[in-house]
C-alpha cells in the first residue's frame, strides 16, 4: 500500500492543526485589543468565521431531477469524501431559483438508504419473498436464455414486452427502448396515461403542443388555472402566478376540488367534474354575444370560426353551461368578459382536467376560448399545456437496429409515444404495439404469440396501472418478469429477477423539461454503489451475454461509458437553441433556450394542415371525433360517489412516498370527503372506512372537509412502501379517454371518470 505513512501523518497533522486552532481561538479574548487598531490588511478572525460554511470543502456536481414533473429542477450537489452530503437548487436557473421541493430534498435518502436494492437477485416463486443473490453474469445468462428460447419457440421476439414510462426522464434512459430494438421486434406498451387527450386536442387546434415560456406568466393580466394544481405539482411555477397577481392580474382557479392552488387565487370555481367543456363553451357564447371576439385573429389566422360561432349560437347558452357545470350564470358572464378584455390573458390547462372520457373535447373548447380572444401567440397569453421544444436530442441511446433477419409484426403502425422522436421509417416488420393504459388487459388478450416475458423499467405497474386486481391475474400468465428498480415495489414483489439501477447521482445524462425552457446536464457525482448499473450499462451487459450465447443476436454496443453516451445526445441544433458551444458549458449550470419570443406561435405559423388555428378540424373528424369543439358528455356515474385520485404533494407517483424521511411529514394516506356526506353515512373524522366499487376495494382513514364537493371522494395516489398495501388502483378501471391515439399511439385513461361507494368499517 503506497502512501500509508503519509496518510497517517496527514491524519495526525490534521488533528494538530485543529488543536492549535482551538488554542488560538481561546487566545482571542486576550488579543481583542487588536480591533482597536486601524488595520488595513488583516480582517477580524472570529470564532464564527472559523465555523462558517466553506464551499471549497466540497466537490460540487451538477445534477437534474429526472422525474415526471413540470419543474425538472437543476440541482447542485455537494460531495465530501465521495459521499453526497446535501443538495440544493441551482441558482443559475431563474426557474429553479436555488430551491427544490419536498421530494427533491429527500434524494440523499434514496442513495444511502439501507433498503436500497443493491444486487441482482432472483426470486424463487413470485411474491414468496424468497430471494437469492446472483451475479450480473448469471442474471444476464438467465434473461438471455429466456429471450433465445422465445425466439426459438415463436420464430420472433414478439413474446417479449417492455413496460416503461416516466420513472426516469434522463435522455439516455431511452436506451431501454433502444435495447429492445437491438434484440429484435418486440411488443411495446405505447401511449401514455398522462396527457394524451390534451396533446391530440392541441395538435388538432394548433398543430402541436407548444406552450409559452411559463416565466412569462408574470405578464399576464388574467390567469385561469383550469384543472391543474401547481401549488402541489409545479411549486416553482407559483412564483410567476404570484407575481402576475402582484402586478394586478386576476387569478381564477377552476377545479372540482378546492386545491392548495385554489386557495391562492382570487376566485375559485368548483364545477361539476368533467363539465369543463360546457363551461368553456358557455363563456365562449357570452364572449361572442358581447362582441369581444378578436376578429383579426379569427379572420386572419384561423379557419372554421364561422362554423364554431354558429354552433355556439344554436347549441350553447350561458344558462345551459351554468346548469351543466353548476357555476352561476352571472359568474360565467363576468369572468368571460374579464378574460376577453384582459390583454393578455392565459389559461393553464391541467392534465387532471383531461383525464376523462371527454378530456380531449374539453381541451379543444378551452383552446378555442384562448384563440377567439386573440391570446394565442402572445407573451403572457396562450393555452398552456406543455411542450417538447427542448427535447431535440439525437436519441442515440434510443435508436438501435434490429439484428439482421429479425422478424416481427406486420401491421400498419410501429411504436409511438409522445416522446417518440424517431420519425418512423417505413419497414416491412415492426414492433407489436399494445395500449399502455390497458396493460393488464393487453397481457391477457395478446395472442399469436402470447406475451411470455416482460421487462419493466422506469415504471411501477402494480402501483400505477389501472385495475390492479386484473393486473395480478395478467402478471401470473407471464413466464418471466424482469424489474429494474431502486426500491422494493409491489412490481418487484411480482417479478422473477430484479436488477439494481443507479440513482441520478450515479450516472451521466441530460435532462429537459416539458414546461420551462432550461436544460441541465446530470453529472456522475459518486461511483455507483453496490452493484448498481444505469439502464444503458444494463443493456450493454445483456448484449454481451446475448452475443456470447448467440452471435449477432443483439446489436446494442457492449461497452458503455455513460459520459460518452451523454455526449452523443447533443447536436448543433441543440447547441444553437441553447446558445452554447459545447455540452460541457452546462457544467457551470443549466442554460435556458434562446427563445425568439416567450410566446409560442408568435409567428402565427401553425402546424395544422391549413397552417392556421383550426376551430374546425377535418383531421379531428377523420380520426373519429367532432370537427368542432362540441360539447361531449362525461362518463355516466355507475356508483354513488365520484372518485378522484389526483397527485399528492409528497410524492411523484410511486417515488418518494416510501422514504422514511418523507413519512416524517406524510405519515399515512387519507380519504377526503364532505362532512354532509359523512354525516349521512354515520362516518366521523378519522374513522376507518371501506371504499369499494366494481373494480375492488380499499380500507383507509377519512378526513372530513368541504374542500371536497358533495358526493365525491378524494384519495391522493401514492405508494406508501413496506407494510402498507394502500393502492388507489384497486378502485380505478382502465376506461379510455376520447383522444390520444393520434399523437401518442393510444387513447388516454379517464382516471378521474371513476365512481365508488363508501361505508364505515
Amino acid at each position: 500500500m503506497t502512501g500509508q505513512a503519509t496518510f497517517k501523518e496527514d491524519c495526525m497533522s490534521q488533528k494538530t492543526r485543529a488543536l492549535s486552532r482551538r488554542q488560538f481561538l481561546k487566545g482571542l479574548s486576550v488579543a481583542g485589543a487588536a480591533s482597536l487598531l486601524p488595520l488595513r490588511l488583516l480582517m477580524p478572525y472570529s470564532a464564527e468565521a472559523a465555523t462558517a460554511f466553506r464551499e471549497q470543502d466540497f466537490q460540487i456536481f451538477r445534477n437534474a431531477c429526472p422525474r415526471n414533473c413540470y419543474d425538472t429542477c437543476s440541482i447542485k450537489t455537494y460531495v465530501k469524501d465521495g459521499v453526497v452530503k446535501f443538495i440544493e437548487g441551482a441558482q443559475e436557473s431563474t426557474f429553479t431559483k436555488g430551491g427544490l421541493c419536498v421530494k427533491g430534498y429527500a434524494y440523499p435518502r434514496r442513495v444511502y438508504s439501507p433498503d436500497r436494492i443493491k444486487y441482482p437477485m432472483v426470486q424463487d416463486g413470485r411474491r414468496t419473498g424468497n430471494w437469492r443473490r446472483v451475479s450480473w453474469d448469471e442474471a444476464m445468462d438467465r434473461i438471455a436464455k429466456k429471450i433465445l428460447e422465445i425466439k426459438e419457440k415463436d420464430g420472433n421476439l414478439l413474446g417479449m414486452g417492455l413496460s416503461k414510462y416516466s420513472g426516469n426522464f434522463g435522455i439516455t434512459n431511452y436506451g431501454v427502448e433502444g435495447m429492445m430494438s437491438s434484440l429484435g421486434y418486440t411488443t411495446r406498451f405505447v401511449g401514455t396515461p398522462c396527457w394524451p387527450a390534451g396533446i391530440d386536442a392541441q395538435n388538432y387546434d394548433l398543430g402541436d403542443m407548444w406552450c409559452n415560456d411559463p416565466e412569462d406568466m408574470v405578464k399576464s393580466r388574467f390567469v385561469i388555472i383550469w384543472g391543474a394544481n401547481p401549488a402541489w405539482c409545479s411549486v416553482h411555477s407559483m412564483k410567476y402566478v404570484n407575481e402576475a397577481k402582484r402586478r394586478g392580474a386576476k387569478v381564477v382557479v377552476i377545479d372540482p376540488i378546492f386545491t392548495q392552488t385554489a386557495a391562492k387565487g382570487d376566485v375559485y370555481w368548483q364545477p361539476e367534474t368533467s363539465s369543463d367543456g360546457a363551461l368553456a363553451l358557455g363563456m365562449a357564447r357570452h364572449i361572442l354575444d358581447q362582441g369581444l371576439v378578436d376578429t383579426d385573429f379569427v379572420n386572419t389566422h384561423a379557419i372554421g370560426f364561422a362554423e364554431f360561432a354558429a354552433y355556439l349560437r344554436e347549441n350553447v347558452t350561458v344558462e345551459w353551461a351554468s346548469q351543466v357545470s353548476g357555476i352561476p350564470a352571472v359568474q360565467i358572464r363576468e369572468v368571460a368578459e374579464e378574460f376577453a378584455t384582459a390583454d393578455p390573458a392565459t389559461i393553464w390547462i391541467g392534465y387532471g382536467m383531461q383525464r376523462h372520457t371527454n378530456g380531449g373535447a374539453s381541451v379543444r373548447a378551452i383552446d378555442a376560448l384562448v384563440a377567439m380572444t386573440g391570446n394565442v401567440g402572445k407573451e403572457g397569453g396562450g393555452a398552456r399545456y406543455g411542450h417538447l421544444r427542448t427535447w431535440g436530442f439525437n436519441y442515440h441511446a434510443l435508436l438501435q437496429k434490429q439484428p439482421e433477419g429479425s422478424t416481427g409484426f406486420i401491421g400498419a403502425t410501429g411504436p409511438k409515444g409522445e416522446f417518440d422522436f424517431t420519425k418512423g421509417e417505413a419497414a416491412s416488420f415492426t414492433d407489436r404495439t399494445v395500449n399502455i393504459n390497458k396493460t393488464a388487459q393487453a397481457i391477457l388478450d395478446t395472442k399469436d404469440p402470447v406475451l411470455r416475458m416482460l421487462w419493466v423499467s422506469c415504471k411501477n405497474p402494480f402501483a400505477q396501472d389501472f385495475d390492479r386486481p386484473k393486473l395480478e391475474k395478467a402478471f401470473d400468465t407471464l413466464e418471466m418478469v424482469v424489474s429494474v428498480e431502486q426500491f422494493f415495489t409491489e412490481t418487484v414483489n411480482n417479478s422473477d429477477i430484479v436488477l439494481p439501477v443507479t440513482t441520478l447521482f450515479e450516472e451521466w445524462t441530460v435532462n429537459a423539461s416539458y414546461w420551462h425552457y432550461w436544460v441541465g446536464i446530470n453529472e456522475q457525482a459518486i461511483t455507483p454503489m453496490y452493484e448498481t448499473k444505469s439502464n444503458i450499462e444494463i443493456a450493454a451487459l445483456l448484449s454481451r451475454k446475448m452475443n456470447e450465447l448467440s452471435p449477432g443476436s443483439c446489436t446494442f454496443p457492449q461497452d458503455i461509458d455513460t459520459r460518452e453516451w451523454l455526449e452523443k445526445e447533443f447536436n448543433q441544433g441543440m447547441y444553437d437553441y441553447l446558445g452554447i458551444k459545447h455540452w460541457t458549458d452546462l457544467k457551470n449550470g443549466p442554460v435556458k433556450a434562446k427563445l425568439a419570443s416567450s410566446a409560442s406561435w408568435s409567428d402565427m405559423k401553425f402546424g395544422t394542415p391549413s397552417g392556421k388555428y383550426e376551430f374546425l378540424s377535418e383531421l379531428c373528424q377523420q380520426n373519429g371525433h367532432d370537427a368542432l369543439p362540441r360539447y361531449k358528455e362525461g362518463r355516466k356515474a355507475y356508483d354513488e360517489f365520484r372518485l378522484l385520485t389526483p397527485h399528492t404533494k409528497f410524492g411523484l407517483h410511486s417515488q418518494f412516498v416510501n422514504l422514511d424521511w418523507m413519512q416524517e411529514f406524510n405519515k399515512e394516506p387519507f380519504l377526503y370527503m364532505h362532512p354532509d356526506d359523512a354525516q349521512e353515512k354515520k362516518i366521523a373524522d378519522l374513522d376507518t372506512v371501506r371504499v369499494f366499487n366494481k373494480v375492488g376495494e380499499l380500507k383507509i382513514k377519512v378526513k372530513l372537509t368541504s374542500n371536497v364537493a358533495k358526493k365525491s371522494l378524494v384519495i391522493y395516489e401514492a405508494w406508501f412502501g413496506a407494510g402498507n398495501d394502500f393502492n388507489v388502483q384497486n378502485l380505478v378501471d382502465d376506461e379510455s379517454s376520447d383522444m390520444g391515439a393520434y399523437k401518442t399511439g393510444a387513447p388516454g385513461v379517464a382516471i378521474h371518470g371513476q365512481f365508488a361507494n363508501v361505508e364505515r368499517v
Binding site: 440544493e88 429527500a106 382557479v253 386557495a263 391562492k264 375559485y268
Partner: protein, 185 residues
Amino acid sequence: MKKHYAFLVDSERCIGCFTCAMACRNYYHQEKGVVWRHVYPLSEEIYPHRERAFFSLACNHCENPTCLNVCPVEAYTKREDGVVVHHQEKCIGCGNCIRSCPYGAPVYNPVEKRAEKCSFCHERLDAGLLPACVQSCPTDALKLVDLATLEPENHVQFPPGFPKNAKVNPSTRFILPKVPTMVRR
C-alpha cells in the same frame, strides 16, 4: 447598525409544500423523529379551509430565550445578531430546555441523548448564505429579515394559532393568509 435576524413567515405566499422542512433535513440529516422545522396546518377556526394554510415554524430565536435561561451548562448562546445557537457538544441532555420552550423548538435526540434545535444555519449566515430552509422556499414565503431595518407593513408577531408569549419575545414575524371568493356548484 446591529443586525437582528428573524424568520418572516408569509402564510399568504405559503403553499404548504414542506420544501423548507425537507431542506433542513437534507442539510442536517436529523435523527428519525427529530424535526427542527415543522409546517403546521392552521386549524379551521383560524383559516376556514382544512389543510390549506400553514405556519412554517422552527426556532423563534427569542430575545429572552427560555432555553438559554434554564440551561445548566451554558449550551445556548445568543449572538449579537439575534441567533440563539445550541452548542450540541456541551449539551448533557437534561431536558430543561425541551420542557420549558413555549414553542417546542428544542427536541430530544434519543440516539445522541441530547437536545437539538434550529440554530438559524448560522454557519451559512456567516458565509453570506441564506439558511437552507429560506433558500429552498419556492414562493419566497419563508424569508430571512432584519428586524432592525424591517419596514412596518402587514406583519404581526402573534397571529392567531401562534402561542402568545411576550416574555420570551420571539423574533419570528408573520403575514396572514387570505381566502379567495368561493363559487361552489
